[in-house]
């Protein structure tokens, strides 16, 4: 197994005036294996998009390291960073806002190739545009049209073609399907899977929809309020969730099957997400956690591998209490 991306204790804090600091990402570590899809999930404001943007260098990190193929990417000079962008690209959430309405599809897809001077002649470059369009399920006739002539799903395909233009090895997809209709979401997810198989791409897939993330990801990291709380293989995460937040999150997602829904017990979390400007002391989840103990408000739980490839940050699994199965949660669920 080759780790293509290694993130160590990454922090991204924003100064928001009056000396206040918003800790969007507060010390997150994980790695991504070559050729896999790593899913990053969490609710709005948990810092998942900030991680994606910080890895790519769209935000400057406050602390921590990001290694891409063994190279510290945040220590790169301008020239080296320029070269690094060839291997890492991004797909954005909103297919309406991420394409310039005044450019044709050809211009949109050619731009990265022009910036990086990939081709000597315009003709070669155009051929590559056609090739990319076909790879993402569009056709060459679309090259001279403008973004408004396309549906949301087709626009997202154009965004994917642009991300592929430089032949990257790694793609960060930030909520690539949440703006799309359900029947179209499946089209785009299947396309991403096909492209991955064909080109051996590695994906960092950021989304809030855990059912879709589980569909596409090999491993999943769950985030809450700037911290990663659990990380494991996607099927394990569903079969044996350890962190109380993961369990609540999983139980809150409705399943499109009436009989299953009727039988399910839901863990309803009380309260709302605390403010990331003034997060709770100790474990950030303790204010809503049905199993909070005294220690949770005192110290931050450590990031621990409790079984192979299964990491969790929770006091329930600290110290000698390394049970591999989850302690029974006793919750007054109705």
């Amino acid at each position: 197994m080759e780790k293509i991306l290694q993130v160590n204790d990454l922090k991204k804090h924003f100064e928001i005036g009056k000396g206040r600091i918003l800790k969007a990402v507060n010390g997150v570590s994980f790695y991504v294996k070559k050729g896999e899809t790593f899913g990053l999930v969490g609710e709005s404001g948990c810092g998942k998009s900030t991680i994606g943007r910080t890895i790519l260098g769209l935000y400057e990190s406050t602390d921590g390291e990001v290694f891409f193929k063994g190279e510290d990417v945040h220590g790169l000079n301008e020239k080296e960073r320029f070269r690094f962008y060839r291997s890492m690209q991004m797909i954005f959430q909103d297919p309406y806002a991420s394409l310039n309405p005044r450019s044709t599809v050809r211009e949109i897809i050619s731009e990265p190739m022009e910036v990086h001077q990939l081709f000597q002649s315009k003709k070669e470059q155009l051929e590559r545009v056609y090739e990319l369009l076909e790879e993402v399920g569009l056709n060459r006739d679309h090259a001279n049209r403008y973004p408004h002539e396309f549906s949301g799903g087709q626009r997202q395909r154009i965004g994917i073609a642009r991300a592929l233009a430089l032949n990257p090895e790694f793609i960060i997809a930030d909520e690539p399907i949440s703006a799309l209709d359900v029947s179209v979401q499946a089209q785009v997810v299947n396309l991403l899977k096909e492209l991955q198989e064909e080109k051996g791409l590695t994906f960092l897939f950021i989304a809030h929809d855990l059912s879709m993330v589980k569909q596409i990801s090999d491993r999943i990291g769950v985030m809450y309020l700037g911290d990663m709380v659990e990380l494991t293989e996607s099927s394990k995460l569903y079969d044996n969730p350890l962190h109380p937040y993961t369990r609540a999150l999983l139980s809150a997602i409705p399943i499109p099957d009436p009989d299953v829904e009727e039988r399910r017990e839901r863990i309803i979390l009380n309260g709302e997400l605390p403010s990331p400007i003034d997060p709770p002391s100790g474990c950030v989840f303790r204010t809503r956690c049905p199993m909070a103990m005294e220690v949770c408000s005192l110290t931050k739980p450590s990031w621990k591998e409790v079984e192979q490839d299964h990491f969790v940050a929770c006091h329930l699994y600290e110290g000698n209490n390394t049970t591999k199965t989850s302690p029974k949660i006793t919750i007054a669920s109705q």
């Binding site: 609710e43 709005s44 549906s151 799903g153 087709q154 209709d181 359900v182 029947s183 179209v184 979401q185 499946a186 089209q187 997810v189 299947n190 809030h208 855990l210 059912s211 879709m212 589980k214 569909q215 099927s235 569903y238 609540a248 999150l249 999983l250 139980s251 809150a252 997602i253 409705p254 399943i255 499109p256 099957d257 009436p258 009989d259 299953v260 829904e261 839901r266 309803i268 979390l269 709302e272 997400l273 109705q334």
Partner: protein
């Protein structure tokens, strides 16, 4: 059980620069006292326009209810004066909108917005209005209601705002509540709280609910009956379990197969290829013809007649015709 609402052959059009959009093209359904009917479909299928038409909230121009009838408790709403409609909205029929951030006036306190409807419609004393407002805040689960009435919308989180919007909609004790994507803008753990609140409210007040959504998981959770809309028409309607376990229309089947399920491993998503038709010039025949894997010649020419599978399960599809090849067997339902 009596029908509280009967909608028959509703047609709504919008005139735009590009021509006339036929947004709703003959929608017929009824709602029983105390039940929850979910209208599902993808963006642009006409589900929101249908619900706005019931409230007579279609802006004219550009919109127009071309024909049809809407009967609420036997009364025809189509020909009521605007003044009469104002006395029905909020009192007999209430509506909850998708975005809790824009549904509240940022310059007024929560209290004055909550009491506005009550004061306007029922001419109650300020004291009584306040008591009722506090009672509603408690019903929707906002703690410390007397204090919080003095606060402004920005002092509440998204989930809390949606609770306030629900309290506002219910304060005059309407008999029909139309909820247009009430949980779409919310995180899943908050969505679970709100769905639970809907169930509780229906038990306490007996209100009938029309729920507009694209989320089949939410539907499996709280609907009694489901209407599936496509390109301005209801293409299938039935009890919740009819739609989930015995879907008949290829679009309904396609929709169910394109959503991932959290509780299943390694399922393959089957997207519906293509996109919905242009409603400037909707097809003469079945609007799903271009995307349907089982399309026959007749489908492109004549709109299918409605077939009644059971008393409560209706579908508009030529495959139901006895002259059609019996393709049912080749269509795995689940």
């Amino acid at each position: 059980m009596t029908n509280i609402l009967e909608v028959e052959d509703l047609h709504v059009t919008f005139s735009t620069y590009g021509g006339t959009v036929k947004a709703v093209r003959g929608v017929t359904f009824s709602l029983k006292q105390g039940e929850t009917l979910a209208i599902v479909g993808e963006s642009g299928c006409g589900k929101s326009v249908t619900s706005n038409a019931i409230m007579r909230l279609i802006p004219n121009p550009p919109g127009k209810i071309d024909k049809g009838s809407i009967r609420f408790k036997g009364k025809d709403l189509m020909h009521e004066t605007e003044k009469k409609m104002r006395s029905i909205r909020g009192v007999d029929i209430s509506m909850i909108f998708q975005d809790p951030m824009t549904a509240l006036n940022p310059t007024l306190t929560i209290g004055s917005q909550l009491m506005e409807g009550l004061r306007e419609h029922h001419k109650v004393s300020p004291d009584k209005a306040k008591r009722k407002a506090i009672e509603m805040m408690e019903l929707v689960g906002i703690s410390n209601p007397a204090e919080r009435l003095k606060q402004y919308p920005h002092q509440f989180s998204g989930g809390m705002r949606q609770r306030i919007v629900i309290a506002m909609a219910l304060i005059c004790e309407p008999e029909l509540l139309i909820a247009d994507e009430p949980t779409t803008a919310l995180d899943v753990t908050i969505q679970a709280q709100i769905l639970e609140l809907f169930e509780k409210i229906q038990k306490v007040t007996g209100v009938s609910i029309i729920l507009i959504t694209h989320d089949l998981g939410v539907v499996a959770n709280i609907a009694d009956r489901i209407a599936v809309m496509y390109a301005g028409k209801i293409i299938e309607m039935g009890e919740k379990r009819d739609i989930f376990y015995r879907p008949q229309h290829p679009y309904t089947k396609g929709l169910l197969k394109s959503v991932p399920r959290l509780d299943l491993d390694g399922e393959k998503l089957t997207p519906i290829d293509g996109t919905p038709p242009d409603l400037f010039s909707p097809p003469k025949g079945c609007s799903f013809y271009a995307r349907c894997p089982f399309a026959m010649k007749v489908c492109n020419k004549v709109y299918p007649v409605q077939t009644n599978i059971t008393d409560s399960h209706h579908v508009a599809c030529w495959l139901q015709d006895e002259r059609a090849k019996q393709l049912q067997a080749t269509l795995p339902i689940k």
